[in-house]
């Protein structure tokens, strides 16, 4: 079963245009464009780009390379179109309403914080690895977790592929996020128990997801006031 969130369908409108979500998606798309251009000139250049600006646990723990800067730059690099599309669709579906509750600049700080926490989790788990880790999924999992906290009843238009038959139901965000969370837990279990290598940084996803708890440091006062009153944020 393939499950892809497409759009948030909460009935109440946004109070302002989600500029930061839009800007983050644009920045990520532009970066992938740059990666494509570099890979066409010389693949070695692309590999060096990933090694320099991706998160390499071994280098970070040796105090070499960009260090903390790569925790941020790695969230803007992706290993291909499907990697980017999956992350950006999730950011589009969940990020706009979280940005609405925080404001654009606080949302950016929260997004980066989740990315940094995801990277820290990954670095500590894969401490001896010298392979670069790239992608926005840690930060995006943080945004998903924040959406679950703030809009527990929210419904998301989802593309569901069951035995190659497509459906587009409106599912509760709770079930979608639970599906993704459990799939990460299951994958981590398989990696630990059976030494399977999926080439996906599941620990980073989990680290970013738990970073969502910090969203309360970024909510603007009215949003927190409504959250405390159990009103729609």
């Amino acid at each position: 079963m393939l499950l892809i969130p497409i759009n948030d369908t909460e009935p109440n409108r946004y109070t302002s245009f989600p500029v930061m979500t839009f800007a983050l998606i644009t920045a990520n798309v532009l970066m992938l464009g740059l990666e494509d251009i570099l890979s066409e000139t010389d693949i070695r250049v692309l590999v060096d780009l990933f090694y320099t600006y991706g998160s390499v646990p071994g280098l970070i723990l040796q105090g070499r390379g960009g260090g903390a800067l790569t925790s941020i730059t790695s969230t803007f690099l992706h290993a291909g179109l499907f990697h980017l599309a999956g992350n950006m669709l999730m950011l589009w579906a969940f990020g706009r309403r979280v940005e609405d509750a925080c404001g654009p600049w606080r949302f950016l700080l929260f997004y980066l914080l989740c990315g940094v926490l995801a990277d820290m989790t990954s670095t500590l788990i894969h401490a001896s690895s010298f392979g670069p880790s790239v992608g926005a999924s840690g930060a995006v999992f943080g945004v998903m977790g924040a959406y679950l906290l703030l809009f527990p009843g929210g419904r998301i238009r989802t593309l569901l592929l069951l035995f190659l038959f497509p459906f587009v139901p409106r599912l509760r965000a709770f079930w979608i996020i639970l599906y993704f969370f459990l799939s990460q837990i299951l994958s981590v279990y398989q990696v630990l128990a059976f030494d399977v290598d999926y080439n996906v940084n599941y620990w980073a996803h989990l680290g970013g997801f738990f970073g969502s708890l910090f969203v309360f440091f970024f909510l603007h006062p009215e949003a927190l006031h409504r959250y405390r009153l159990n009103l729609p944020v």
Binding site: T15, V116, P221, L224, N230
Partner: protein, 281 residues
């Protein structure tokens, strides 16, 4: 409502802090004479009827179609309605609660219509009472269910109008800690997860980030925090120019440590070894 000052003022008014709310609304209309919402809130926060008239007149200048404001202004300007002449019969007692009792006790009365009328008149508490009666008396499950839903919705609206004080200090600290925490995490990673190796200037930078956040949030979002009155005197942080100056200073204090961290990290980028060749390990 994207104006944080307006949000703060309304929160203060709802929390019963009339003087602070009044001062803030006065600040708002000083900054923007066209702020109808602020003028309307001021009507209930000033005591002098002359001031109330001025506030209503200003609101009507901005929005002449505001019938509620117009009715209120006429009531204030027409002293005959307020003070009956001597010897005139006493005005009849307020009918409001009598209407409610009559609606609830008259058999066959359409309670749903009564409740809707109270809702339209803004008398939400009475509408809730009517819905409670409907829930108790209705025989059909759908009627009970609809009345319950409507009652719950009105109770949520009523909760919004009741003050749930959230101290401005809590808001100030909450919003200031986010950037500070992010900066600390970046420092720890940059020091290869050995915090004792972080150079002293970066510790000073973290204090600057916290101070900058507090200044920025304090001047932009919580300008009426009591601390401003202690620091700047009774007037507090009233002036728009002063607020702009302090929030800019806060932003600079917040941004400089991040920029110096960025410079340090970019400098260290050159120490990145070349990527290992495929298959080379």
């Amino acid at each position: 409502m994207n104006n944080p000052l307006l949000r703060e003022a309304i929160q203060l008014a709802r929390a019963g802090r009339r003087q602070e709310a009044r001062d803030l609304f006065i600040e708002l209309v000083t900054l923007d004479e066209e702020n109808e919402v602020a003028w309307l809130w001021l009507v209930d926060l000033v005591d002098d009827p002359e001031d109330q008239i001025i506030a209503l007149e200003n609101a009507l200048t901005i929005n002449p179609d505001n019938e509620g404001a117009r009715a209120r202004l006429q009531a204030l300007q027409d002293p005959q309605a307020e003070t009956p002449s001597p010897g005139a019969p006493a005005p009849p007692p307020a009918k409001a609660s009598n209407d409610l009792d009559e609606a609830l006790m008259t058999p066959g009365r359409d309670l749903a219509a009564v409740a809707r009328r109270y809702e339209a008149a803004g008398e939400l508490e009475k509408a809730v009472i009517v819905y409670e009666q409907m829930i108790a008396m209705a025989e059909k499950r759908t009627t009970k269910s609809q009345a319950r839903q409507r009652k719950a919705a009105l109770e949520r609206q009523l909760e919004l109008t009741q003050p749930v004080p959230m101290h401005t200090t809590f808001t100030l600290l909450r919003l200031s800690l986010g950037p500070f925490f992010l900066y600390l995490l970046l420092l720890v990673i940059q020091a290869a997860y050995r915090p004792w190796r972080i150079p002293l200037p970066f510790y000073v930078g973290s204090i600057a980030v916290l101070a900058g956040s507090l200044l920025l949030v304090g001047s932009y979002i919580t300008p009426h925090h009591p601390a401003w009155q202690r620091l700047l005197g009774k007037e507090g942080l009233r002036s728009g120019g002063m607020r702009l100056l302090l929030s800019s200073l806060g932003l600079v204090l917040l941004a400089l440590p991040y920029l110096s961290f960025l410079a340090s990290a970019l400098q260290r980028l050159s120490t990145t070894p070349g990527a290992p060749l495929p298959g080379g390990g």
